[in-house]
Amino acid sequence: MAETLAPRAAPAAGARARTRWQMLAPRIRRHKGLMVGLAIVVLLVVIAVFRDYVAPQNPIKIDVTAALQGPEPGHWFGTDQYGRDVFSRVVHGASISLTVGAIAVVIAATVGTAVGLVAGYYGRGVDALIMRIIDVLLAFPGILLALGIVSVLGPSLQNLMIAVGISGIPFYARLVRGTVLVAKEQLYVEAARVIGVPIPVLLVRHLLPNIVAPIIIAATLGMGITILQAAGLSFVGLGSQPPTPEWGRMLTEGRDYLRDAWWISTFPGIAIMITVFGVNLLGDGLRDVLDPRLRI
């Protein structure tokens, strides 16, 4: 019986997936903001991956004879106080910022989703305990939780990712818990429970795929905030350390030369803004397409 059913189940699932994609594809294509955001993000990823070809100059090589030169052919974004090519540093910085943002979001979304799934599904005492802890963590506004964690772990790029990632966990946990509370009352969850699907399998294979849309939306929008927070912490000296070409760090390094060499701080700032702008447009677009009810 199972053998005869199995071959039929696979194409049915594939057909369902195709139908969902076929439904979404025209909406995605029609959404101008989403397409612009996607183009910016794809371009940035390409630049980050092929950084050695886009900017062949060594981003950390010091050449004091070329210090503080303005934008010109050969040094499109000028040079900094150590004669390093600002364009190369900005291009190489793309891979650092995107990696930091992605890893921090993955930490926050994965742990937050797991916590939210458990709290929402089990309810009662487990939920009450987890949510009280989440409430306490949410009492630390904005960057403060990340700041506290960096102060404990010590300033470094790796600790920065961990700190920003952990500080995002409460947000995802609360979001997922709320979604699970609604989803677990659905008939398919009850059916899975009745036929004896183990709870971890039920949570991961049945519940999770049905609540993934808000998580994707939140993660995309959260990536912009994460990149800003990471750059900010590096700016105040709590993230990447010299000579890493990290955008936030570059802003600090150019600060003392603002009067005579505006380009050192200006271009990394524009790079941060374009990246976050692209990610935000993509996130807003995905929200409109996947869940138009959430639109603001």
Partner: protein, 307 residues
């Protein structure tokens, strides 16, 4: 109303308790010996380390230390700064007014600008005004406040020489930091106000007001606007918290004395009592502001009280 306020106050108690536990536990979460980490930049003998451990009461059990932390905190004693050898509360309360002043100025600016932009965009939905305002808002959200601060210094201090680049105290020193800090929040408030205004403009009571023959201005100002602003109030608490901690970056850019800069300096100096004190005051300030916002929300919208 008193019942609502009492319930809300009561709900705050476990959060405050949790915040104090979290802040106190920071010392325990440091990998290795916290005293060695704090004194890593000094030449210290084992006796000095032992004396420091005794001074911080680190040899006592966790809950005894925590109890002392809370008891002393309630009496205005958050310990002594390792660097300056001064009471932490004294250091914090010397600079706190500057931070509150900056956050309030940024909130006022962002509310006025955000609401104006949001209302304008909603009234001209799908026009160029709407698209322009919302693109501007998305750009505003994407712009790092500390970078905007640097650009403002470059233009208004170094080039035009109109405003002072660094320091604090008077109004000229407040303008650029408040603008740099407030623009991001203005963008968020603009988006929320627009969406809330659009929802209200579609309600039946607005249609009724229009059907009665009222002018567009009366419908917007007397019927739609106040109702549309109610959801915006909830975001004030959230935004105030973000602005409060945003001062960490802005005070660093503008060399402005304040709690944010104090916290960063304390972290860089590994001055842990000062780090704990600053983080605690930031978090408690946020809890209090959210409590006040919830109460104001219930006053403005009576439906909240009965939920």
């Amino acid at each position: 109303m008193i019942r609502y306020i009492s319930a809300r106050l009561l709900a705050t108690v476990p959060v405050v308790f949790g915040v104090t536990i979290a802040v106190f536990s920071m010392l325990y979460l440091i990998p290795g010996d916290p005293v060695k980490m704090m004194l890593s930049e000094f030449q210290t003998s084992p006796e000095q380390i032992a004396r420091m451990r005794a001074q911080l009461h680190l040899n006592d059990p966790f809950f005894v230390q925590y109890g002392r932390f809370v008891w002393n905190g309630l009496h205005g004693n958050l310990g002594t700064s390792i660097r300056d050898d001064r009471p932490v509360t004294q250091e914090i309360f010397e600079v706190l007014p500057q931070t509150v002043q900056l956050a309030v100025a940024a909130l006022a600016l962002s509310s006025l600008l955000g609401m104006a932009l949001g209302i304008l965009a909603a009234l001209r939905q799908n026009s160029w005004v709407d698209i322009g305002a919302m693109t501007l808002a998305t750009l505003g959200i994407s712009m790092p406040s500390f970078w905007l601060g640097l650009i403002l210094i470059l233009i208004f201090s170094l080039r035009l020489e109109l405003l002072p680049a660094a320091g604090g105290g008077d109004l000229p020193h407040l303008i650029m930091p408040a603008v740099a800090l407030g623009l991001g929040a203005a963008a968020i408030i603009a988006r929320l106000t627009r969406s809330s205004m659009l929802d209200i403009l579609r309600t039946e009571f607005v249609t009724t007001a229009r059907a009665k023959g009222l002018t567009g201005r009366t419908v917007v100002l007397r019927h739609a606007l106040l109702n549309a602003l109610i959801p915006t109030i909830t975001i004030f608490g959230l935004q105030f918290g973000t602005l409060l901690t945003g001062t960490v970056f802005i005070e660093t850019v503008f060399g402005r004395p304040g709690l944010g800069r104090l916290a960063i300096q304390a972290i860089l100096n590994k001055d842990f009592p000062l780090v704990q004190g600053s983080v605690l005051i930031f978090a408690l300030g946020y809890v209090v502001v959210n409590l006040l916002v919830d109460i104001v929300y219930a006053v403005v919208d009576p439906r909240i009280r009965y939920q």
